[in-house]
């Protein structure tokens, strides 16, 4: 099953002339926004002095025991509910046993076969307005490891002489989201990740800052001929540190795999690291060396059991989901996806927008003002739009005036600048200063006559066939009317009078 994308067929990827498709699944690790770590009361905060937020538990000291953070559990459940996942009544923690210097206990407390959530669907919109979705397999909860830095000329492990470990991050609650292999393009992958991020930020689940490491993702990628059910051999791509990198890494790996296949070779199942500097992936290790993690239920922890009343309460606490808002904005209100995304990403701006639309309707017009002129004014003056002198009431009036063609867009812009500076009511200002757009044919004709009389040569040029000069003449009408002429009508009347006298 592929991500449902309601769009026209895109040009196929060809391998030796055969149409192929890219099949991808994504695994994300997302650090949760909690005060404290998953199994101890040390602070969960980025950027602290090394090894200052540590205790016997998160250092794996002898005799220490884990006790789960109730908030972390709740956040994972909410993350699942946000995407329509099922919350099983019974869930537990398991130990994943392996040795690594940033692993304080040399086992990680994770969830193996009974995760906190199962299933779910992540919807997303692509820039071209098409809607897609990708199913989730599961979301589970585990603890993060410490962070190691390597003493080598380039900071990489290979060739290093020793490493330094900071355990501040060890034990931070980590949510692992695993998707089904429903993703079919780099654009979809990025849209999927942005949809995750948008939802997690909106619901207070995580800050999702890839540059701070609070989102890490791996992409599993394989190619197969279109129409074949079996999957091709997959590679796992790691080390991408921005959404942009994800897109480029996917592009690079697809190209690499195509080249291998076209050269008659076979894809090796392996982990490949994305190299930002060189723009390619390099092999990290052979994925066939499967590790025996010897999972078993952690005897230091009790299972988590949810009554359906708990789940209902948590679902209610989520309120309206970002996906629901986006659907309304894009499908009903006909906003462009990037506009809708910006609305969801800026709750303050969205509240303002919603207030205005409630008063005057016209969501597309409103969003254009909000994201256009108003946002520009906000940046220039460092005042957020909702805190400015332009009240929602005022903007609603302004939109109403434009829609009724009482004023033109130029006047509207000027008015907006004045409202930003001093506040006020557009209706009142327009009435008081007579800024209403002149749409009376007679009045326009009078101005047109004056302009034609003052520009005889230009008028003659027009009649002689130089139709381009009409723009100049329209501009003159606008100038003569001090900007209040209805430009469409002005052009219409100019044409009419020029032709008549021709």
């Amino acid at each position: 099953m592929s991500a449902t994308v309601e769009s026209a067929a895109k040009p196929a990827l060809l391998v030796n002339g055969v149409p192929y498709e890219v099949v991808m699944g994504i695994e994300c690790h997302v650090e949760l926004k909690t005060e404290t770590k998953m199994f101890c009361g040390c602070r969960n905060v980025f950027g602290a002095e090394p090894n200052t937020n540590v205790c016997p538990v998160c250092l794996g000291m002898p005799g220490a025991l884990p006790v789960p953070n109730e908030k972390a559990i709740e956040l994972v459940v909410k993350a699942g509910l946000a995407f329509g996942a099922e919350i099983p009544a019974f869930s537990k923690f398991d130990r994943k046993n392996y040795f690594y210097p940033d692993m304080p206990k040399d086992y990680q407390i994770s969830q193996f076969d009974m995760p906190l959530t199962q299933g779910g669907v992540v919807p997303f919109w692509l820039g071209d307005g098409t809607h897609g979705s990708c199913r989730l397999t599961r979301i589970h909860l585990e603890e993060d490891t410490g962070k190691s830095t390597h003493a080598s000329h380039d900071g990489r492990i290979a060739g290093s002489t020793y490493s330094l470990v900071d355990f501040n991050r060890a034990g931070v609650p980590l949510m692992e989201c695993v998707s089904e292999p429903d993703i079919r393009s780099g654009a979809q992958a990025v849209a999927f990740l942005e949809s995750l991020k948008r939802t997690f930020v909106a619901l207070g689940i995580s800050d999702v800052k890839m540059e701070e490491g609070s989102l890490r993702c791996d992409v599993n990628l394989s190619l197969r001929p279109i129409g074949r059910a079996e999957y091709g051999t997959k590679t796992e791509i790691k080390n991408m540190n921005s959404f942009n990198s994800v897109g480029r890494a996917i592009e690079s790996e697809v190209a690499r795999q195509v080249a291998v296949l076209e050269g008659g070779g076979r894809i090796v199942q392996e982990t490949r690291g994305w190299d930002e500097a060189n723009g390619g992936t390099h092999s990290m290790r052979n994925k066939e060396e499967a590790h025996d993690y010897r999972y078993f239920p952690d005897p230091d922890l009790t299972p988590i059991e949810f009554a359906s009343a708990d789940v209902t309460r948590m679902r209610a606490e989520l309120g309206t989901l970002p996906a629901e808002i986006l659907t309304r904005l894009i499908s009903s209100d006909k906003l462009r996806p990037e506009q809708a995304h910006q609305m969801v990403d800026s709750p303050g701006l969205f509240a303002y927008f919603s207030d205005v639309v409630e008063r005057c309707g016209k969501p597309q017009a409103v969003v254009n003002f909000v994201l256009g002129d108003l946002s520009r004014l906000a940046n220039e003056s460092s005042t957020p739009v909702p805190e400015s002198n332009v009240t929602p009431e005022a903007l609603a009036e302004l939109v109403g005036l434009v829609e009724a063609k009482t004023i033109n867009s130029k006047t509207a812009k000027e008015l907006l600048t004045r409202l930003w500076a001093k506040g006020g009511s557009p209706n009142a200002i327009v009435a008081a200063e007579g800024l209403g757009q002149v749409s009376d044919t007679g009045a326009i004709d009078a101005i047109v006559a004056e302009v034609l009389a003052a520009n005889e040569k230009t008028a003659a040029d027009y009649r002689a066939g130089k139709t381009k000069v009409l723009g100049f003449l329209v501009g003159q009408v606008m100038k003569q009317s001090r900007g209040t002429a209805n430009p469409t009508l002005a052009e219409e009347r100019l044409r009419a009078l020029l032709d008549v006298c021709g």
Partner: protein
């Protein structure tokens, strides 16, 4: 249920224990004897029995998301086999699970 030859060398690798060939052999014999004893469990009728998941049935034991003081860093690093400034210093990482 299989008893018998436990691949001591392989298991030692999983457990990160360096063993001499003599130890591999010695432990092989000793653990083989234990496994023979353990084989008796094959006689028990456990097909309809649930594995003991917890000794004392309980669920949802958790703690509130409230910070408590962490350990003093110097105390922590004083006990480190090797440190470098504010960090634990560990030997180079090659050919190890990551």
């Amino acid at each position: 249920m299989a008893s018998g030859d436990i691949d001591v060398a392989y298991v030692a690798k999983l457990a990160r224990l360096a063993l001499t060939p003599a130890e591999i052999e010695k432990f092989g014999v000793q653990l083989g004897a234990l496994l023979e004893h353990v084989d008796a469990l094959a006689a028990l009728p456990v097909s309809d029995v649930a594995a003991t998941a917890q000794v004392i049935a309980a669920s949802n034991v958790m703690r509130a998301d409230v910070a408590v003081p962490s350990l003093d860093r110097e105390t922590v690093l004083d006990g480190a086999p090797k440190r470098e400034g504010a960090y634990f210093r560990v030997p180079r990482i090659i050919g190890v699970e990551a």
